[in-house]
Amino acid sequence: MTNSSFTWQRGLIYTILLAFAALYLVPLYVMLTTSLKDIEEIRQGNLLALPDNPTLYAWTKAWSSACTGSECEGLAPFFWNSVRIVVPAVVISTIVGALNGYALAKWRFRGSEMLFGALLFGCFIPFQVILLPMARLLATLGLANTVTGLVLVHVIYGVAFTTLFFRNFYVSVPTELVKAAQLDGAGFFAIFRHIFLPISLPIFTVTLIWQFTQIWNDFLFGVVYSGPGTQPITVALNNLVNTSMGGKEYNVDMAAAIIAALPTLVIYVLAGKYFVRGLTAGAVKG
């Protein structure tokens, strides 16, 4: 397949790959150039044209002075709210998923496969359905409209996927290893720590990236279960771009959109390599 004598074939492959890369980049390009234009140029200009006089006005406004309600402090405060929600939610759901996956893969018991199947099906429940009963449950737990409550919701609905990832990864570890360790007297946690944890870096990478993306981008749970002052950045972004009165500043909207997406973008750029490696290492093996 890598025979370089078929140069025209390789040329074709490169052309296709690059053409798709260009297509995939168009929305980002539109957002980026629009965020650097002033509003007059957006009204009159071409969607794909480069900005005449690039300006960072929209970026500073989106970050620190655009209105998101009666307060006009930009996205900055909400950015940190998101961090406070996402970090614990991602860490907890990943750790729980790792232990679950390990237990389901290597410590099967009657009903463990059914449990896994049930978990997999359960995550197909449309999230809109759970809004009200969950609100009620959180209130009963005394967690209504708190960061803790929101983190809990993310963990509960994230664990199905993290468990799936880890289980599929650990299934490919030879069971003989576990048996041997047991004979040496190692227990459930000791085997996890000494045999499974050291080989788990790739799958942790995949799971962390996946969970970070899902939770950072979440809007529905964030808007319903956060309280005043703890709303995540997606809610602020939605507030910033929505107006029923017109006078839309598309450049500020676009800059805000990119700012809100920046952490996930950075992670994909920096860790994309490990993402595919992690998947290679077993996440997509059945």
Binding site: C72, G229, L240, S244, G247
Partner: protein, 416 residues
Amino acid sequence: MKLKPTLAAILAASAAALTPAHASEVEVLHYWTSGGEAKSVAYLKERLTDAGVSWKDFAVAGGGGENAMTVLKSRAVSGNPPTAAQIKGPSIQEWGELGFLADIDSVAKANNWDALLPSVVSDVMKHDGKYVAAPVNVHRVNWLWANPDVFKKAGATIPTTWDDFMVQAKKLQDAGFIALAHGGQAWQDATVFEAVVLGVGGADYYQKAFVELDMDALNSATTEEVFKVFGELRQFIDSNSPGRDWNVATSMVINGEAGMQIMGDWAKGEFGVAGKSAGTDYVCVAAPGTSGGYTFNVDSFAFFDQSDAGAQDAQQAMAKEILGTEFQEVFNLNKGSIPARLGMARDKFDSCAHDSMDAFVASSANGSLVPSFAHGMAVPEAVSGAIYDVATNYFNSDESASEGASQLVNAIQAAM
């Protein structure tokens, strides 16, 4: 699983677990989050802060309050509703029925709201005869915005009846203009539909069919006539309209691409931003056939029951402030609407607002003042949603007027 929690029990059970709003603090759920609206809310906040009440902002934008209502419902279910929330029209009654709203009658009495507010407005603000909400403004929805320059170039005149509209629109179109600037979103389709209902059917028919939901009126030939006129408008709209935001449509009128737009008075803000002035650069007239009529849309804040005495005081302070002349003036100058309370100084308002004020009083006297169903003022959400579906589906298809009329009747019946 407990399947039968009464709402009162929900409130009681969770009250203990939750931190109530602190004394002298209001937590306000609203969907005014950017531009002029955000400024208006910030002004209210500022005035309350001066009065010693701190403001916890809980803003959730999107789709005319759709997301905010989702949040409100889940907060209500968790027994933790905000101090005040932006709710309007018959929804206030529905929340009142469920026992969630606070009685603010004492503020209303002390400040003489019954005399300050027109009865069509105050009726909406009351549940069981007691005030539970405070109005911030009155929008007129049945406006036609026109670019006189475009009309001049096309040799057309601004239409005052729907028959005339078809003639003039044709002239605009023949001269190469888009006759009617429109954004194809369900609520905008419903806004135009509403103008046609009032213009073709008149206030009596409107009231019977679209407020009282009288089946005889809905089944009458007038309904089909309404759909016929509404359907004829399809040809005067450019084919790129679906999904367009209303303010983009307004800018088409501003820059002379299109001749007219049918939209509520918030459109004025868009003309203002573009530096255009009423009467010269643009014209506001009542939508065709509705010159004496007035479809109103009132924004308001409803107050939720609070157990904490300090929170109740803060709530009352907020209610009082909302009806104050300063807030009413600043807010409505920002938003393009007119003050909800009568007898305010009008010199700072523009000519369109003056027209709106006059028409409001006149229509209220002759019975042609009707609530807007396109903006959640006339019928419960389920019914207005059904009307939306039929109107938007009809407008975007090539169905016949009789099909449209019969679908409307079916949809309204199914939603009731």
